[in-house]
């Protein structure tokens, strides 16, 4: 799911809860039913499914627990450490999953409960991200994936004399280099509007199109300093930031929402889950202004989550059944219809109903086709177990460029040095 949907207030409240160690425990409800809590962040679209599940499973009572992205994950860490308080079913996002993989003994091995039989539901790379020990340990069941597209403002493109029809717009930028050139053209015509929301998003999207980022796929060793893909993506995004083509606004923050409402920038990389966020931010007032097209450089994967079952839960078997239900193709299809979160299961994203989905908000963009096409050509990006130590250093360096405090070359050097220190 989304990388950083902010409710900073909630984050802090969560930090407070986490600090005091207050958390409800699972167990049986008063009415004799087994209570299963499901911990998520952002919008997983589970509410209706819960009601359905309770209808077919009268002995189960499902309870949603929702927190902001960062708070959800760091709270899970403290709950695992403390040995109590975690929800029975917990969603973990791809980027954080790497960190939790190293603590697999805190989680139930879903293979013991029969998860291996489900393997063929998912595209193979998604399944592989959730397993350890060659598949003998199943840590989590995949939910959605962050197949990438690019959202753009039609009206702002028209004002800059650029094509506005999504097919033609896609032709403008087969690669990110072309995308940067379009930014130059755009700036000439409309100097008061920024071309993109943030250098960070461009960088992340481009980096996620390569197989390896900061760590080697083969042995998890640190390669951020030598991987040309990192440097390439950084210099491209940083270069756009240095030229003032980005608005320098951290995505999914309150500032980002205001900027969307004010039309401060014209393009934004959007994974499937981001459509709902842009829509919520820009509001109905911008209903016919936004459109979706393909992302430069083919596809990439940005986020996507897994449902895990922490060992400390009292009813892990029932919890697994719930996770299995929520990730089954039938349910994933319903979620896509509701939230637009793209399932990582070919049976779903190749389903005609999904393929034919258009989004009225985005000028009837065929989002089903756009994201499914992207999903097919997608190469999974290897994250590495220490990703969370390194990734922020590069994002901070990009922010320094956008703030005019550094230039791309210096900032890249600093990010590399800092991340080398973090992992040594």
């Amino acid at each position: 799911m989304n990388n950083n949907a902010t409710r900073r207030a909630v984050a802090l409240a969560a930090a407070a809860v986490l600090a005091t160690g207050v958390a409800a425990c699972g167990g049986s409800a008063d009415d004799g039913k087994i209570r299963i809590t499901v911990g998520t962040f952002s919008d997983f679209g589970y509410e209706d499914l819960f009601a359905e599940y309770e209808k077919t499973h009268p002995n189960i009572k499902l309870e949603a627990r929702k927190l902001e992205f960062d708070a959800h994950h760091s709270q899970l860490a403290t709950q695992l450490a403390g040995g109590r308080g975690a929800a029975d079913v917990v969603a973990i996002e791809e980027g954080w999953l790497a960190q939790f993989r190293t603590s697999k003994d805190k989680f139930v091995n879903l293979a013991d409960l029969g998860a291996k039989d489900l393997k063929d539901q998912w595209v193979s790379w998604k399944w592989n991200q959730g397993i350890l020990e060659d598949g003998n340990f199943v840590l989590g069941l995949g939910t959605d994936m962050g197949s990438l597209a690019l959202c753009y403002r039609k009206d702002l493109f028209a004002a800059a004399g650029l094509p506005t029809e999504r097919g033609e717009v896609a032709k403008l930028w087969p690669t990110w280099e072309e995308y940067a050139k379009v930014a130059d053209r755009f700036k000439e015509k409309t100097p008061n509007v920024k071309f993109a929301g943030s250098a960070e998003n461009i960088y992340t999207a481009k980096l996620y199109q390569s197989e390896e980022g900061y760590f080697a796929k083969s042995d998890d060793s640190f390669i951020a300093d030598t991987n040309p893909k990192v440097k390439e993506a950084f210099l491209l995004a940083g270069g756009m930031g240095a030229k003032g083509q980005t608005a320098g606004i951290k995505p999914f923050t309150p500032e980002w929402t205001i900027a969307l409402k004010q039309g401060t920038f014209a393009t934004e990389t959007c994974a499937a889950w981001a459509l709902a966020q842009i829509k919520a931010g820009a509001g109905e007032g911008a209903a016919d202004k936004w459109d979706v097209t393909s992302v430069p450089g083919g596809s990439g994967n940005w986020g996507g989550s897994f449902l895990t079952v922490p060992k400390q839960g009292k009813n892990t078997k029932e919890a697994y059944e719930v996770a299995k239900y929520l990730t089954a193709p039938a349910q994933q299809k319903k979620i896509f219809a509701k939230t637009g979160n793209l399932p990582s299961e070919p049976a779903v994203y190749k389903d005609p109903e999904v393929l034919n989905k258009v989004d009225a908000y985005y000028n009837d963009a065929p989002v089903g086709q756009i994201f499914a096409a992207a999903a097919d050509s997608l190469k999974p990006n290897y994250r590495g177990t220490r990703d969370s130590k390194v990734r922020p250093r590069f994002n901070e360096a990009l922010a320094r460029i956008e703030q005019g405090k550094s230039n791309p070359d210096t900032a890249y050097g600093e990010a590399v040095t800092q991340s080398r220190n973090e992992v040594k």
Binding site: A15, T78, T102, T253, E396
Partner: protein, 321 residues
């Protein structure tokens, strides 16, 4: 039932009463009851104060991952690493800077406000209650509102700056501007609170001192510095110590001010990362509980040292006045 504290006047000194025999329970009562009365505090402090403190010290001597727990004893390695860590000194500098920037003007303003309120003002209760209002509002709400006010693109402060012909400031981007903005939040929250403490103290200053000074022809300013301030010295010392403890542990305001969300990094260049934020980043973002515990202990010592320094300094200054 209390034991007789003084002997009855009827008793003769030659016959000391053998209380031991007569009041065994009462004697136990006088000895034990006071401890029972204060025990709840010490029990709770032991469980929620002392134990975590010692446990943190224990954790700080280990390679300790947040989720997986102990990975082996490393002695003082975390402390060695910490004292060679430029990010630690950066955080320490930021903390001290924001502490000074917020506390000094805050306490001076609180003194002034209290002095004004100490006079016969119309609608006194209204003004006094108003003073406490910022403190009652949730700190999260305060921080969110101030972050909007100091917003780069759509903030009121930048709007006003432009109105008078000045340049916009990217408040989060630079060290000085971010420190100013964070200090503004802290001041807004705590000035009124301190003013009320001062006011309460001022109310108990004997009025005849002022009357005598008026007869001598002293100005209001002179009276303020020569009578009011020395008279409320203990309260000033108290607020300084409390502000020091609070200021050195600054966390919520700068964390929420960070456009990146609750990552604890404090800006693109750690320009407003405080010690507590660094602790949070290490412990809850990077899961390095051992290192975070070492920070916690050093922070504890830093707070102690600063509180002592401030206490000594303030006592000197106040006694000179």
């Amino acid at each position: 039932m209390a034991a007789p504290v003084t002997d009855s006047p009827l008793r003769t000194p030659q016959q000391p009463p053998s209380r031991k025999r007569r009041w065994p329970l009462a004697r136990l009562d006088t000895k034990v009851t006071p401890y029972l009365f204060v025990a709840p505090f010490f029990l709770i402090f032991g469980a929620f104060g002392l134990f975590p403190l010692l446990y943190t010290a224990w954790v700080s001597l280990h390679d300790w991952q947040l989720v997986d727990g102990q990975q082996g004893f490393v002695g003082l390695a975390n402390y060695y690493a910490l004292f060679g860590d430029p990010n630690f000194y950066n955080a320490l500098g930021n903390t001290v800077s924001m502490f000074l920037l917020s506390t000094i003007p805050q306490l001076l303003a609180a003194l002034g406000l209290a002095a004004l309120l100490d006079r016969g003002l119309r609608g006194r209760t209204f003004w006094r209650a108003g003073l406490l209002l910022p403190n009652v509002v949730s700190v999260v709400a305060v921080a969110l509102v101030f972050t909007q006010i100091f917003g780069r693109d759509f903030g009121i402060v930048n709007y006003l700056l432009e109105l008078v012909g000045l340049d916009r400031v990217n408040w989060q981007a630079d060290t000085w501007s971010s420190h100013l903005a964070v200090s503004a939040m802290v001041m807004w929250r705590w000035t009124g609170y301190n003013a009320l403490l001062y006011l309460a103290a001022m109310q108990s200053v004997p009025k005849d001192l002022y009357e005598a000074a008026t007869v001598d022809g002293a100005s209001r300013w002179r009276m303020f510095w020569s009578i009011t301030v020395p008279s409320i010295r203990p309260t000033i010392l108290f607020t300084i110590v409390v502000s020091t403890i609070g200021g050195m542990q600054l966390f919520v305001e700068p964390t929420l001010f960070d456009p990146k969300g609750a990552s604890g990094v404090g800006g693109s260049d750690r320009q407003f990362q405080t010690l507590t934020m660094y602790l949070y980043e290490k412990g809850f973002r990077l899961f390095d509980a051992g290192y975070a515990s070492a920070i916690a202990w050093v922070l504890f010592l830093v707070v102690l040292i600063f509180a002592l320094i401030n206490f000594t300094l303030a006592r000197r200054i106040a006694s000179k006045g």
